[in-house]
Amino acid sequence: MVLEIILTKYNYFIYISLMALGFYGMIGKSNLIKKLIGMSVFQYSIFLFYISIADVEGGTAPILVKGEVVYVNPLPHVLILTAIVVAVSTLAVGLSLAVRIYREFGTLDENKILMGLKND
């Protein structure tokens, strides 16, 4: 029973492991840029999950052509299209905050920044 779930739904376990990797990068590493890279890995793995559940067996890209064709589900594509550009905007704002923090404290390590804030 468990083996059957693993064999037919193996994709989901790969997506979940990518999510867990990104999550570890966000909370387990103390460099700010490494945290932002972990956040981006997490975001892209969620997009992968959405696009993969939109696929239909034997379907083709969702552009109308003449004849009887099966199309894949276009709705997750729409969600993820805007989400990609918003993700890069979020990364840009996060990186600009990191630049300002570096100019202020001289370090990008989270523990040293907290130490610096405590001593202020």
Partner: protein, 177 residues
């Protein structure tokens, strides 16, 4: 959805993600992250989503890599040494494993990928696919949904992007004076 190609690409994506998070050199991490996003763009092309695939290729290999390299050039290249104990790493690993287990328990209710009778293909989407050409005159269903059926949400998204640009100007341009 060719099985062998799928598993190969997903395996490469996991290896790139593991190495990108683990390494201490930030430039190596950035290049591996660009590779990861490009492998994801190829996977999405194989899953028949053409619009999303080339947006991701342009964004992942173009814009976000340049921004990360620019920030590394303005600050440090290597991660600093950890002088704290390893307790924090173990706690983070326990949290991630708990996250993995909780989500894996939820997988048994999800539909098999590619099943045409899954519930998310049934309710709203057939109406969109059938009525797109008569109601909007456009052949690309993704563009029709984005700009016509769900146009109000897209207006909000464009405003979010504009606001992000303004935020970066506010944060970084004061430094120029």
């Amino acid at each position: 959805m060719i099985l062998a190609v799928d598993i190969l690409l997903l395996g490469v994506a996991i290896l790139l993600a593991v190495k990108a998070i683990h390494t201490k050199d930030l430039v190596e991490s950035t290049v591996l992250f660009a590779g990861y996003s490009f492998v994801l763009a190829v996977i999405w092309f194989e899953l028949n989503s053409v619009d999303v695939s080339f947006t991701e290729a342009a964004v992942g290999a173009g814009v976000s890599t340049i921004l990360l390299v620019a920030v590394i050039a303005l600050s440090l290249r290597y991660e600093e040494e950890e002088e704290r104990s390893m307790v924090r790493n173990y706690l983070a690993a326990i949290a991630c494993i708990t996250f993995f287990i909780v989500l894996a328990l939820g997988v048994q209710d999800l539909p098999i990928i590619g099943d045409p009778n899954a519930p998310h293909h049934q309710h709203v989407v057939p109406r969109y696919i059938e009525n797109t050409y008569e109601e909007t005159g456009v052949v690309n269903i993704v563009t029709a949904i984005l700009a016509n059926y769900r146009g109000y949400d897209t207006l909000g998204e464009v405003t979010v992007i504009f606001t992000a640009g303004i935020s970066v100007i506010l944060l970084l341009r004061r430094v120029w004076q």
